[in-house]
């Protein structure tokens, strides 16, 4: 168990504090934000400090770090802050929920966030700064490159390769042996059956609205 500073003070930072505290993996001692985003000096009952002037007790010599940000700029913002924190000397920790099932012989890299119900099968390689949200499955032999965000209940089939900084939206599905390029955005519920080019965007066909209101349906 280490003392950690969490970079960010938004929803992901709140969740990171929740998960790290709950499982006693690490003790969050402060939040760090860029000075331009410093609004309040407390968040979640802990100090918020500017990255440009981190007090001595929260520096890399005393603390490890975790960058708790979402997928802004297709994960580029989080990637940049990971680089900045590492340049400041912080060793970035990962969180793996005790309610996740991780069966891979390859441990995840740094700054990963693997939440409850995630299933990581044997032979899966997770890079650095990969987020896997609840109930997602990554099947055998798949490779997930750095800074990729995998939303809730995503299914990544066997031997898939997901490039860096991809966003896989909630409920999306990637079939086996597919290669996703870097920086791809796969929208909620989208199904990807073939390889994708770098920076491509895919969306699922949205559900169609029926003409009949629900109170006219006969069988429900």
């Amino acid at each position: 168990m280490a003392d950690i500073v969490v970079f960010g003070a938004g929803a992901t930072a709140e969740l990171a504090n929740f998960y790290f505290s709950r499982d006693g993996a690490h003790r969050v001692v402060a939040f760090v934000v860029d000075a331009g985003h410093l609004r309040e000096d407390r968040f979640q009952g802990l100090p918020v400090v500017a990255a440009e002037s981190v007090p001595f007790r929260f520096r890399a010599a005393q603390c490890r770090g975790f960058v708790a940000m979402g997928y802004g700029k297709v994960n580029r913002l989080r990637a940049e802050k990971c680089a900045a924190m590492r340049a400041a000397g912080y060793d970035l920790v990962s969180y793996v929920s005790p309610h996740a099932v991780t069966m891979s012989e390859y441990p995840p890299g740094w700054n990963c966030f693997i939440l409850e119900g995630a299933m990581i099968q044997p032979g899966v390689r997770l890079g650095n700064d990969v987020q896997v949200w609840p109930n997602s499955t990554i099947a055998h032999g798949a490779t997930i490159a750095d800074h990729t965000f995998i939303g809730s209940r995503v299914t990544v089939a066997g031997n898939v390769h997901v490039g860096e900084r991809c966003f896989l939206g909630i409920g999306s599905t990637i079939r086996d042996h597919v290669r996703l390029g870097a920086g791809c955005v796969v929208g909620a519920g989208a199904v990807i059956l073939g390889n994708t080019e770098d920076n491509s965007v895919y969306t699922a066909p949205p559900a169609k609205k029926h003409d009949t209101p629900s109170f006219r349906l006969r069988r429900i």
């Binding site: 309610h99 409850e116 809730s152 939206g169 929208g187 909620a188 699922a204 559900a207 629900s214 429900i220």
Partner: protein, 221 residues
Amino acid sequence: MANLVIFGAGALAELAHYYFGRDDSAHRVAAFVVDGEYLREDRFRGLPVVAAEAIPPEFRADRCLAFVAIGYNNVNRLRAEKCAAMRDAGYTLASYVSSRAVVLSDRAPGWNCLILERATIQPRVSLGNGVMMMGGGSIAYGTTIGDNVYIGRLAAVANDVHVGANTFLGVGSVVRDRVRIGRNCVIGAGAVIVRDAEDDSVYVAPRAEKSRVPSFRLRRL
């Protein structure tokens, strides 16, 4: 361990009987209750079935809790009505949360909820009363689920969503972040909802296409 009567004697009642009978249940099922006109057999799953109009003293509200095990009939309003009737009769309604679900919100669940295995509920999720969550589903942080909502297996609801009362989310359906779904909606199996849905609206997923090639002609499978 408190005794419990289950309202209903159909498929969901059978399921509720199974789950409330497990080791992670705080209750013991003592009887099934149905409306008199639906009383067909006097035993179900080895337990007495009694008419709601003439409940024997040992199964009444001063001796038992209750659980209303009715599915999504009439877009969940039948279950809502029976919950109200049982509460009027003085029953405290119990909830079952599987020990294999991961509930991380301190605002969930209310009464008469059924939260099955592998459901995940993140922090700051509010679940109303009478919510059925059929297992494997995920609800992300900051989402509010109204009363009597039915969440089918593996349904995935993203963060900061609002799902109105009585709405039905079909198996494998997906709701993206920040969407508002109205009351009494029916979201079909596998439907992907990316925009707000009005009250009483019905959404269906595009159907899978049948290939003209039979499976024995497929080269790579």
